[in-house]
Structures are given as C-alpha cells and as structure tokens.
C-alpha cells in the first residue's frame, strides 16, 4: 500500500507520457517539441495555482478563492505601476504582496474565526468580485511591465521563462513541503488537527502560512497569465479554480488532507492541459467533446488514482 501510494505521482507522470506518445503518433504536430513546450507553459500557470492549492489541501483545507486572486493580481498590476518604476519590479512586488495579503485574510478567517475553509474562501471570492467591479475597466493602462512581459513570452535558450519560473518554484515548494518543519506541520495539521495541536503545532500560524502561500502562488500565476495573454481581464482566473483542484487530486493528494505531494500535482497539471489539447483537436460536437473529456479523465484516473483498500 505504502509503495503504491508513494508512486502515485510516478503513475500520473507515466500516464502523461503515454498520452503524449500516443497522441504524437496520431498527429505529428501534437508531439512536436514546440507544442509540448507550449503545453508546459500552460501547465505552469495551473501548476503554480496548484502549488498553493496543494499546500492548503495537505494542511486540511481548500482554497476556492484562487480564481479571484489570480484575476485580482492581473487587474491590480496596472494600478500599482508608477512611471518611476521602470523595471516594473515594484509593481510586481506590490501585486505579490497584495495577493499574499488576501491569502492571509483567508487564513485569519479560518484560524481565528473558525470559519470553514470552503465558506471563508468562497466568501472571499465573492468579496473580491465586488472589488473587481470597482477596479476593472477603470484607469487600467496597457500592460507594459517589462518583467511580466518577459515572463510571459521570453524563451532564453529555447526554454520558456515561465517554465523555468515554474521549475524553480516547484523546487521551492517541494523543499518546503518535504524538508522543512513548516512543511511537516502542514501535513500534521491536515492529518489530525487535534493531535497536531496537542503535540505543540501552532495551528493558527500554520493555517495562516498555508493560505498565505496559496495567495502568493496565485499572484505569481496571475502575473504569468497576464504576461502570456498580453492583457488582463476580469475572468482571466476563472479556469484555474477547478483546474487547480483537479490537478491536486489527479496527482494523488488526498482531498481530506494530510497526505500527498506537490510532486503529483506537477504531472496532474500537465495531464489536464494535455487532455484539453487533445479534445480541442478532435472534431466533434461540443457535447460529445465534453463527454470525451470526462471519460478520458475518468479513464486515466483509473490507471493512476485508486485509493487504498479499506480492509
């Protein structure tokens, strides 16, 4: 059981590879390096949102406000841009601080007011929608932040900047989860909050960190999405809510908390993007395409996602 559990990320990776190879043979363009690279670029946004989501889910919560935070950060960037800030660094830091702050507020509601994470983050998403109506379409200026533009489109050495950012962040998140005390506390909190608390884990601080990290990751993801799209808009974050949760669960992290790894979310994100790409090139009615999509997800899940037996 343990060995099987441990290899869930591996299984998901294998599934991705098999899908790529099969699809590559079926359609030569699909398996070309630029296309694979493009899919990785798309996956990097889901992957970053999924990183925060993984941390939160492992810590026994769930973050339903990720979509709104991603959108918020794309809309807020122009508002935080000043003319003296020629490198755009201040704006970028400002956006990251803002998104982290939103995450921390989630954490406060959950740890101090004891509001259920689903309710707190859903309410936060609603709250942010109201804020977005105020902010959007107002004084927005065209994106000319050099850092964000570079992140979204540069390909140093033929490798996309956003993928590199993703790789670096993945490394950090993996280290955080599996090699730091804080990471261990996330697992403890998710596995059994009561036992964790009686064993001296500071539940409030740990909860706060988890949601803060999720906010930060959403901010980063928002910057990437903005750079790749050249333009932010209200609703740009919408696809990432279900995608991040799906990537987390496809990667073998238990939605009930306490078990999992970001190492599974990585192939999970790539798998989602890949299936979406596959379905796009299939010529079928929209209804049929949805059916195919669902069936593929379910089928691939059967290969990689079975839970351990009860007895």
């Amino acid at each position: 059981m343990k060995a099987l559990l441990r290899s869930r990320p591996l299984l998901t990776t294998l599934v991705v590879l098999v899908v790529w190879i099969v699809a590559g043979f079926a359609s030569p363009g699909f398996g070309s390096w630029p296309h694979l690279r493009y899919m990785l670029e798309l996956a990097s946004v889901i992957g970053l949102v999924g990183a925060g989501q993984t941390v939160v889910v492992i810590a026994g919560g769930i973050d339903l406000s990720v979509a709104a935070i991603v959108t918020l950060s794309t809309i807020a960037l122009p508002l935080l841009s000043w003319s003296f800030d020629t490198t755009g660094a201040i704006a970028v830091l400002g956006v990251l601080a803002l998104s982290t702050l939103v995450g921390l507020v989630n954490g406060i509601g959950i740890a101090w007011l004891r509001v259920h994470p689903m309710i707190m983050t859903l309410a936060m998403a609603t709250f942010l929608q109201g804020l977005l109506i105020l902010m959007a379409g107002g004084s927005a200026v065209t994106l000319d932040n050099p850092i964000v533009a570079w992140l979204g489109s540069a390909r140093p050495f033929g490798f996309s900047a956003c993928i590199m950012l993703w790789i670096v962040m993945s490394g950090l998140v993996l280290v955080l989860l599996h090699a730091t005390p804080l990471g261990a506390r996330f697992f403890a909190l998710g596995a059994n909050p009561l036992a964790a608390r009686l064993s001296g884990v500071n539940i409030r601080a740990t909860t706060l960190c988890a949601y803060g990290i999720s906010g930060l990751m959403c901010g980063l993801a928002g910057l990437l999405a903005l750079g790749m799209n050249g333009q932010g808009y209200v609703g740009i974050g919408d696809p990432y809510l279900l995608a991040s949760i799906a990537a987390v669960v496809l990667g073998g992290t238990s939605i009930l908390g306490g078990r999992g790894t970001y190492g599974g979310t990585l192939p999970g994100a790539v798998l989602l993007v890949t299936i979406t790409a596959l379905i796009t090139v299939v010529n079928a009615s929209p209804g049929l395409r949805d059916v195919l999509f669902g069936t593929l997800v379910l089928g691939l899940l059967l290969l990689s996602g079975r839970e351990a037996k009860r007895r």
Binding site: V115, H116, M120, L122, P286, V291, K309, R310
Partner: protein, 315 residues
C-alpha cells in the same frame, strides 16, 4: 415527562445551528418587512419557487457529504433533468417524462456512486469528470435552449399558488426524516464518519454510498425538472451555478466535509439564507458592488457567529 430519546437526539443536533437559524430568521423578517407582499399567496409562491431548486440541490449535496463524499456534478445533473423534461414531455406526456427525469438522475447517480465506492476513486474528481460527461449529454440532447413543458405543469408547480410546491418540499423533508430514522439512514452517517466501524457493525458501506449517490442524483434531476417547469422550457447549461451554491449552502448549514456530521435542516437553512439574502439586498436597493461585498460578509458572519459570541464548540 422527559422528551423521548429521538427528540433529545434531534435537539442536540440542532443546537449547534441556532446562530444560523437566527440569521436566516432575521433576514426573513427583514424581507417580510421590506416587502409585505411576501405574505400573500402569490408572494409566498414566488419566493418558494426561488428557493426550491437550491433547496433540492442542497439536500442532494448534503446526502453525499454526510457519507463523506461530495459532488461537482450537481449543476450538470440539474441541466440534464431540465433538458430531459423539456425534450420528452411533448412526445411522451408528463408522467412518462417525469419518470424519465427521475430515472436519469437515479441511473447517473448510482453509476457515479458505483465508481466511487467499488473502484475506490475520490468522489471529488469522479464527479468532476462526471460533470463533463453529464453536461455533454445535456448538450447533445438539446444543443440550444428550447423544448417545452406542458403549461399545466408549469402552472401547478410554478404558478401563483405555493401549495403544491410547499407540499412537495414538506413531503421531501418528511421523506428524508423517515429515511433517517430507518437503519439505512443511520448507516449513511456511520458510513460517512467511520467506515471501518460501520463495516464492523455489519453495515454494507458500499451499498450505502451507492444509494446516497443515487438518491442525490435523483434530487438533482428533480431540481432540473422543476427549473424546466418554472421556465417552461429546457436549457442545457441552466444548472451550472448550482454546483458551488449547493456546496456553499450545505457547508453553511454545518454539514462537515469529513462525513457523518450535520443535518438536513442545516443544509436547508443554508440554502434559504443564500436565497433570501438576494431578495433582501434587492429591496435594500444595494448596487451590485455592495451586493457582492455584503454577501461575502453575511456568509462569513453567519458561520463565525458562534465564535464571535464567545461560544465554544468542540474543536
């Protein structure tokens, strides 16, 4: 005389929700005060109609969450129910059509349940995939809004008279109460909270989960049927927003994410809160920005109230 064991148990389960009931009641009073027409026949009918589909999907979601599951396919199932009703009613008549709707929900629900329970896949992702499959089916059956519902059915369910709808709601709640008081109902709680204990106590855990999914699917398509009747037609994407709203209602209502904890009353109160809040904000003349912000705050406050009041619940 001491109240009987049954009522004592019920009372204990309810006590934790008093703050939520309080908030809901307060909002209802405010609504009635802002709009006295609420207490007319038609006013009550219209309000009940707004609430009814959300109440049904909240029940559907609650049943699953009590067994430790969750469904992201609620919205698609509502759409499917609406579409099946609107496309078949003309040809087959209302009775057959309604039976078809219920059968569609039962079958899809039971199938999802079987996948979750027997193949041991996480409910959240199975139902996410299911939402695409079911939503796709709805689109295939009816690609563009249309179809029709027999006018008499619309009039009975969604006319100016609340009797039938309220009756139906009461019937469902009574049905649920009856089910809960059967061994199968308690099995739902046990299988959700502690499947090992349930198994050791001789409960058929898998069957219980599949039954929960089936009932839940049927409630969703029933909601779809009602939406079709309310609108007089079918729309293949009408249900989309019900998924998140059903979860919000249920969690607001104190149903735990880990299974076995919570009550149907709570879930219904949660759905009522989400419904009445919209009307109250309208009659207070709030602009959309304020509506969003107020909605976020009301939801958090309704849940945080026990803590804010200094009352301590077991961790």
């Amino acid at each position: 005389m001491m109240p009987s064991l049954y009522w004592q148990i019920q009372w204990r389960r309810n006590r934790r929700l008093t703050p939520l009931y309080g908030v809901v009641l307060l909002l209802l009073v405010v609504y009635g005060w802002l709009f006295p027409g609420l207490f007319s026949r038609a006013g009550l009918a219209h309000f009940t109609q707004s609430w009814f589909p959300l109440a049904l999907v909240a029940m559907a979601q609650a049943i699953l969450m009590l067994t430790g599951g969750i469904s992201l396919a609620v919205g698609s199932l509502v759409s499917l129910g609406a579409v099946v009703a609107a496309t078949t009613m003309g040809a087959t008549g209302s009775l057959v059509s309604m039976l078809l709707v219920l059968a569609a929900g039962l079958a899809t629900g039971a199938a999802s349940g079987a996948i979750v329970a027997l193949l041991r896949l996480p409910a959240i992702i199975v139902t996410l995939a299911g939402s695409f499959i079911i939503g796709g089916l709805a689109l295939i059956i009816l690609p563009r809004p249309g179809g029709m519902i027999l006018p008499w059915l619309s009039a009975v369910l969604a006319g100016n008279n609340p009797t039938v709808l309220l009756g139906l709601l009461i019937l469902l709640v009574l049905g649920w109460k009856f089910y809960l008081a059967t061994p199968g109902g308690i099995a739902l709680y046990a299988a959700g909270e502690n499947p090992v204990a349930a198994y050791r106590s001789g409960i058929a855990v898998e069957a219980t989960v599949i039954a929960a999914f089936a009932i839940s699917g049927m409630l969703c398509t029933l909601a779809g049927l009602f939406v079709a009747a309310q609108t007089g037609s079918g729309d293949p994407v009408i249900g989309t927003t019900f998924t998140l709203n059903s979860i919000a209602a249920v969690v607001l209502g104190g149903v735990g994410f880990l299974g076995g904890e919570g009550t149907m009353r709570g879930a219904l109160a949660g759905s009522l809160l989400l419904t009445v809040m919209i009307n109250v904000m309208f009659f207070l003349g709030m602009p959309p920005v304020a509506q969003y912000i107020a909605q976020g705050i009301i939801i958090v406050v309704a849940v945080a109230l026990p803590h804010l009041l200094g009352r301590r619940l077991a961790p």
